[in-house]
């Protein structure tokens, strides 16, 4: 059980980063995990930063277990302020790790606190909890891209897996 409830996860659960719904934003989504009732409302604000799309803010409110709530906090730390490309890569790495059934440990240098979720991969019922905020972010980011001023050619979302979508 200690591999699941790592101290980093409990810290994020007790002191969530970036929590609260903020302005401005282009898209807001509501995702739920229908098997256990975890919910998240999430907003994404993308900005055109001299031709590079940047995740200017991710803001959220949610309720749920320690895994889903800590994951939202770690997601905020991992994605806010990054370029959209970097953020999508971070999502890809996180998703790959938690869906790996324990095969992929994750790399602390590139993933930061998100590696603490490697233990979740061994608890199939909790993978959805961990992915809930990240997939909500992806959904909101995709919707936001249509609304970012002066971004004509947006990076492709190809390669981001849609399976495991958690809004039921």
């Amino acid at each position: 059980m200690e591999d699941l409830y790592q101290e980093i996860i409990l810290d994020h659960y007790r002191n969530p980063q970036g929590r609260g719904l903020r302005e401005p934003f282009q898209a807001q989504v509501h995702h739920v995990n229908p098997t256990c009732g975890d919910e998240i409302d999430l907003r994404v604000h993308l900005e055109d930063d001299n031709g590079v799309m940047r995740v200017a803010d991710v803001s959220y409110e949610g309720q749920g277990c320690s895994i889903s709530q800590a994951s939202a906090s770690v997601m905020y730390d991992s994605l806010a302020g990054r370029t959209l490309d970097e953020a999508l890569e971070a999502l890809g790495r996180f998703q790959e790790m938690v869906q790996s059934k324990g095969e992929i440990a994750g790399d602390e240098d590139t993933m930061g606190d998100a590696v603490a979720f490697a233990g979740v991969a061994k608890y199939p019922a909790r993978v959805k909890c961990a992915l809930l905020p990240w997939l909500a972010w992806k959904d909101a980011a995709m919707q936001s891209m249509d609304d970012v001023p002066s971004m004509d050619d947006v990076p492709s979302m190809a390669g981001v897996r849609v399976e495991g979508e958690s809004n039921g």
């Binding site: 059980m1 409830y5 256990c36 320690s66």
Partner: protein
């Protein structure tokens, strides 16, 4: 609900020998403490043996072949029906086999939407089917504690027919608030469908007054007995209701079989639900007529092995005595409620006393999400359920997003409850809440 209670008359040690799964270890060597029987029960060897024997000796498609095996299989299947019917005090012909309680409840709900759709263009209906024809503004009454299986099908009926769904609200301690019953049961009420025992809260509902109020306005009464038939002696014909749904897998039986009992008049007046082979009387290219109940509602090759297994489960439970089962559960429930009350920061969701309450106990732990509570218990080998228990509106009414639920059965004893309470006491430490 008056239940014959004879406490402590189940020899749990002896019973556990019939459930080898309870001897396995979990999570790296810990003893398994299975407290999730409201979700599904474990199966005794007698049930597994009965299924295996059937496949080893008599397996064939029932009601079809001209050969000896087909005869034996048909006999096994119909014999199982008679045995299961007898377990609940019913006639064999009034028991329909389904996949599970969910399908049984859908069968009832579809009788309404199908009859309404057929009546709209004058298609033939069985005599007496008027009871199942809904008009816009007719009302269907459920309760706020229903399992989704007894809620969503009725919502669907409403959206197909223009009927209106109403519900009996809950009191803060998780009982039905019957103070406005006379406003809720009106001459527009056509169906009253409710659970005898809540899988979320453990509450046992007063069937008789609800059924009487419903019948007084001519409404059909459907009872979800999924959480009651496995736990107390039941005579479905004495409940004063028109139909009763339950699942085999929550009463030691196999998965893949459920039952619907209904009065002969009710079954006879219902149009079919799932159609195809075995449920017909005659078939031409233009149209078909349908068999008498129960076959009218059993299309295709049925679940013979599961029926045989469920009959064996009835034998097993009757050998223990359902009064003893109820008594054993009542004493475990009392013991568990007392133990839980002594754990700081734990709140029971549902009745905290023993009056009209079954053995499923939902609770929350201050500062720790139910899912995390379940995970910590699991690390001690204790299997409980977490989430909204397919009763999401009931959770909302109780002001909780979810709960953790323990639900003991005949193979649990006070040692299991002690282990559970001890592990529960550790939960808040893990999360630094205590």
């Amino acid at each position: 609900m008056s239940v014959a209670i004879s406490p402590g008359t189940i020899d749990v040690r002896r019973v556990r020998e019939d459930f080898p799964i309870l001897d396995r270890s979990v999570r790296g060597g810990g003893r398994l403490v299975y407290l999730d029987s409201a979700a599904t029960t474990q199966k005794p060897l007698a049930v597994l043996d009965a299924e295996r024997d059937y496949y080893l000796t008599s397996n064939a498609a029932v009601h079809r072949g001209a050969h000896q095996l087909a005869e034996e299989a048909t006999e096994a299947f119909e014999g199982a029906r008679a045995r299961i019917a007898d377990f609940v005090g019913a006639r064999a012909d009034d028991v329909v086999f389904t996949r599970n309680a969910t399908e049984s409840l859908n069968l009832m709900a579809y009788a309404f939407s199908n009859a309404t759709a057929k009546a709209a263009h004058g298609a033939p209906l069985p005599p007496g089917a008027e009871r199942f024809i809904l008009r816009e503004g007719d009302e269907i009454l459920v309760t706020e504690m229903e399992h989704h299986a007894n809620l969503v099908p009725w919502q669907e009926v409403c959206s197909k027919t223009g009927a209106i769904l109403r519900w009996i609200p809950l009191t803060p301690d998780g009982r039905l608030d019957l103070s406005s019953l006379s406003d809720l049961v009106t001459d527009r009420t056509r169906v009253v469908s409710f659970t005898q025992q809540s899988n979320l809260l453990g509450t046992i509902n007063p069937v008789a007054p609800l059924a009487q109020a419903a019948r007084a306005v001519g409404a059909l009464v459907v009872l979800d007995a999924c959480q009651s038939i496995p736990h107390m002696p039941t005579d479905v014909t004495a409940l004063g209701v028109d139909a009763v749904a339950w699942s085999g897998h929550k009463m030691l039986g196999p998965t893949g079989i459920g039952c619907l009992w209904a009065t002969p008049e009710t079954l006879a007046s219902m149009p079919p639900f799932i159609t195809g082979g075995s449920m017909i009387e005659t078939v031409t290219m233009e149209a078909s007529t349908f068999a008498e109940p129960p076959k009218r509602f059993e299309a295709g090759v049925p679940m013979v092995a599961q029926a045989v297994g469920l009959a064996a489960a009835c034998d097993y439970l009757d050998a223990l005595g359902m009064g003893n089962v109820a008594g054993h559960e009542a004493s475990l429930t009392a013991y568990a409620l007392e133990g839980i009350a002594d754990v700081p920061g734990v709140t029971i969701v549902g009745p905290a006393d023993l009056v009209d309450r079954g053995s499923a106990i939902s609770f929350t732990v201050d500062g720790v999400h139910p899912h995390d509570v379940g995970q910590v218990l699991d690390s001690s080998g204790i299997a409980v359920r977490v989430g909204h228990h397919c009763a999401w509106p009931g959770c909302r009414a109780m002001g909780v997003p979810a709960t953790t639920r323990m639900s003991p059965y005949i193979y649990n004893d006070t040692d299991d409850i002690d282990d559970f309470i001890q592990a529960l006491g550790r939960v808040r430490q893990v999360f630094g809440e205590a």
